[in-house]
């Protein structure tokens, strides 16, 4: 892949521009610019990721399909059988029950929360964050696993938890050298793990059709690896059968 050459050229250019970036807004703008820019990302209407989900040393192939409007389908290959672990049709979230392998709707609150963040899928929550009513704040410089970072707070629309609206804050750690997030952190807001800290670590940023995305995404809970997602291929604006997002009826 030609990634590295393009990358180094790109970052020398960007770094010169952004040496003095200080505000949260500037950091986010630089980040969006560094991963391809608003215009390039605006043209992307769908994104299909083929990869491996790795948990406890075991690999599960998956295909994740996401639309600009937030419709999503994550299809895991379990012993040759398609198993939908996460789907959203624009209004309702659903997934398969493991015992019956049949689709079941998520609870309505989960669907509503999903819908509220539907536009974060492509490329990320920072894209058009002002339009979405999100706010960013620079907490300060920090280190993440030994690397100097800008610590940014992203305040999203409140999330509903058991009928009560709760604040929805994520912390992002942007590498000060390249202005891309290498990790994010949030407090789990619902379910039995509520109150625990969930972390996402991003690496292997690679170029696809002029934009950059992390090809390795690691999910941790209280610092322990829960799931690694290793992208093999990313395709933009593929021909997508839009019926896949709709929850199948029996």
């Amino acid at each position: 892949m030609k990634t590295l050459k393009i990358l180094s050229a790109l970052f020398i250019f960007c770094f010169a521009l952004t040496l003095n970036a200080q505000t949260a807004e500037e950091i986010v703008d630089t980040f969006i610019e560094n991963i391809g820019g608003n215009e390039a990302w605006s043209k992307i209407q769908s994104m299909q990721v083929t990869g491996i989900g790795r948990q406890q040393g075991v690999d599960y192939p998956f295909v994740a399909t996401m639309m600009r409007d937030g419709r999503t389908l994550i299809d895991v290959d379990l012993q040759g059988t398609s198993f939908i672990v996460e789907a959203f049709d624009g209004e309702n979230a659903w997934s398969m029950n493991f015992q019956t392998q049949k689709a079941e709707a998520a609870d309505s609150e989960a669907s509503m929360n999903y819908k509220n963040e539907a536009s974060d899928q492509i490329p990320n929550a920072f894209f058009d964050y002002k339009k979405k009513g999100y706010k960013v704040e620079l907490v300060g410089k920090d280190t993440w696993e030994g690397t100097e970072v800008f610590k940014l707070k992203l305040i999203k629309q409140p999330i509903m938890v058991d009928g009560v609206a709760e604040e929805n804050v994520d912390l992002y750690y942007f590498d000060t050298e390249n202005f891309v997030p290498i990790a994010s952190e949030t407090v789990v807001k619902s379910g039995p793990a509520k109150g625990a800290t969930a972390q996402t670590v991003m690496s292997d940023y690679q170029e696809v059709d002029g934009v950059y995305i992390p090809f390795t995404v690691i999910e941790k809970l209280n610092g322990q690896v829960n799931l690694e997602m290793l992208y093999k291929e990313v395709v933009f604006n593929a021909d997508i059968d839009e019926s896949i997002f709709v929850m199948p009826k029996e």
Partner: protein, 1009 residues
Amino acid sequence: MKKSIFAIFFSILLTPIFTDAQTSANPIKASDLFGDLRARHIGPAVMSGRINDMETHPTNARIIYAGTAGGGVWKSNDAGTTFNPIFDKYCQSIGVVTLDPNDPDNVIYVGTGETWTRNSVSIGDGLYKSTDGGATWNKLGFENSERIANIIVNPNNSNEVYMGVLGALWSDSNERGVYKSTDAGATWEKILYIDETTGAADLAMDPNNPSVLYASMWEFRRTGWSFNSGGDKSALYKSTDSGKTWNKIHNGFPAGKLGRLAIAVAPSDSNVLYTVIEAEEDTKKGLYRSNDAGNSWEQLNNDFGITVRPFYFSRIVVDPRNPDVVVKGGLSGSISRDGGKTFKNLGNMHADIHDVVFDIKDSDRMYVGTDGGVYRSWNGGTTLEIVENLPLSQFYHISVDNEEPYNVYGGLQDNGSWYGPSSAGGGVKASDWVPVGFGDGFRVLRHPTKNIIYSEMQGAENVWRYDADNKLVKTIQPLPQKGYPKLRFNWNAPMATSMHKPDRFYMGSQFVHRSEDMGDTWQIISPDLTTNDPAKQQQEDSGGLSMDNSGAENHTTIFTITESPLDENIIWVGTDDGNVQVSTNGGKSWTNTTPNITGLPANIWVYHIEASVHGKGTAYAVFDGHTKGDMKPYAYKTTDYGKTWKNIISDDVEIFARSIQEDFENEDLLFLGTEFGLYITLDGGASWSKFENNMPAVAVHHVEMHPRTNDIVMGTHGRGVIIIDDVSPLREITAEALSKKVHFFSSKTAVMKDQSGGFGNGFGAETQFVGRNAPSSAQIKYLLPKRHTFGKMTMEIQDMDGNKIVSISPGKSKGINIVNWNYTIKQPKVAKGKTFSFGGFTSPRVQAGTYKAVLTKGKDTFEHTFEVVNDKKTGLSDTAISMKHETTMKMYNMTQDLAYMVYELDAIYESVKDSNKKLASSLNDLKETLVVTTGDNYVGAAEPQLREKMADLYSKIAGSYDKPSAAELESLAVIEDRFNAAKEQFAKLKKKAKVDDLELKTFDDFVNE
């Protein structure tokens, strides 16, 4: 791309299936390089630890906060069922947690420094505020406040905040009194100040009229050998103008000096106030009530439960809905339902009740903070249940043994002595911890060779020798001897064993006592090694207005003893009054080396001496001056038996230290336990780095290194036992290693352990703390000088011929990366059926041997070889292990062969189903014998077919530690026959189908897709 549900799916559904030293040319900034070295916590939470302050949310009854004495701030989102820590990066000693009632989801104030001023209290470092529900914190100053007792936000105005600062316990300070902010904490004005000895012990606001404030001021002071509570300056004040002016409200108070006073306003009736008064006369002490907002007071009760130890218990809490229901903290806690006239004890729970909160909606529900954690009551305090996931245990000291896995031993503040395993089946749980002593626990040592445990309680009142095999207990403390004065034992009396004479046992009073027969007989082998200063031996006068001679203030005592690991005649002794004494002749003569230390304040506590393995004359001494108000760290090293000492503390260390541990191989690698966490130096103390990877800023009272595992084991005073597994990579971090693109650390031979931990015991784990286990996987460790963020980076395990065994995920962070490999190859490709074959989710292990980890980073590859061996504990011969592996792999291959056959069959079926219905039908009939084609994965499961039988047997054999049994081999033969028959049948059908031109994946492509 978002991820949450995907991640949750895997964790929930799939997991259960699988069975003067400050100069250095170029000091290396170690804090950037700790990488994947990460602390793990093993608790225990069985007895939890001391709580200072409880706080409710004003509108959401599910949210409860606990401000702990030494373990930080914890938040519950489920009405106290479980808690999570939210303040780990900061000072863990908490005085108060307060929510802004106008924005309680977001605005939290935390005042640090516990306020129940026992001898072993930690210190705070100021005031913190979060405006995002605890996600981030800002420090608002008050670095020298040491203890903050109250923070109150005006319920009508978030900008108006009041703070009561108790202030320094051990020294004069003017950073104390009542403060007010009118800009939400940005700036503060001191609005009530008495003098540098008198702090704000309690503060209350009339919730119905926020301009009315009450403040109790307390004159108090502690030294290492005494405590004084009370004086002329202690008083209760009232302000009716938002703190502009204050007046004493003592009408009805006893005459004379006052001590610690508590104050509470009944939320449902502003005229009703309660105070608890510590007075000169015992009859005048106790609970007083005012029915006219403080204009006059009447004494109602002076029961023991109300007057006991005011410095430790003076919280009064009034039921928010009933002014006559009042709770007082105390030894047991007391509750009155008649306005304070009479009290009964709260129900059974851990002793020493510091705070109580009522649920915001239902007064039957209460949360109680004790010396042993948080308790919940559902019936107004009559019965109580402990919160089981607060690992706040406060160790004074820890030690380790050499078992596999090793055990950790230690004693706790008010919670006895214990030992527990460093790893256990399913994680380290409450039930894994074994008590080995009563009272306050301190040092606990395992006999070097026998299953004998020594433990003690406060002041060596009892020293136990416990025969753990036979459950036999004997008390063995040294007793007064003819010709010797009264023995002075520290509250936390030192003991030591010998690496040279296993039955040898030392104890320290002002003398060194040595026994050669495990404590049966004792010999005094030293003169009084302390300063023997009589001014520091007046403990019977300690306490001030309330006598408090618990033994905790015993002083001029020996505090630490250590025998050199290199020479049994070299004994080091440190005293609480500043002497570092050494004997090089087994105690015949002693030399006080403290005069040889320059820059050390006089008579401060010698907290710990570490006799080195690197030289007979080498030792480290750590001094603690905090009981004199000196919060600076002091640690020194000698290499000449104390003739000269070198300072090994740099400016990097922010607070006083108590303990040091050297590395057994690299003399420059040291670990320092401080009041605010662990520090590590790679350069012999020229520079220090704080270790923060899952390591709270908790007081580390003792640090040990396990000689076999190279683990750092810490006894913390607030977060239990914390372990950093195998720190050996730190030995190899050098400028040279950092100059390489990748530096692989030397790796230990990896043992494929077969003890799966039995059946674990997950019952109750939903709400209990469970400590994390040490990793049992093979670990590949390497150093990266810089984080890998862009482009591909991958890792493979290969055999020595370069054949790929499996792909694993490399670490990419700057510094130390640790990659775990669980010795398995990937799962077999399993034939596609209607449902899942659970046996097919099993990954087989590799054979013992030499393997390569191959790291690919951009165009570069880097290799590291390592050994994998079998676990000898299985008792299997090499032949048996080979047979097991061969059988497993035979079945693995059969499983994949069947998968490919079904793949081919499905493809052929598709191509002929319209053209040759008869053949299609035959293919279908065959398929129905190969895999299940109906049913579900639960009670609707279909009758198992060949795939299920094959995979289940494969999983059974692969998952066993043992070689395959005769029955398993017989079953395998049956399956093999059936598979062969199916293959023959399929070959015939395939021939009939005449599909040579059908495009099919190759077998290799199919199984590796």
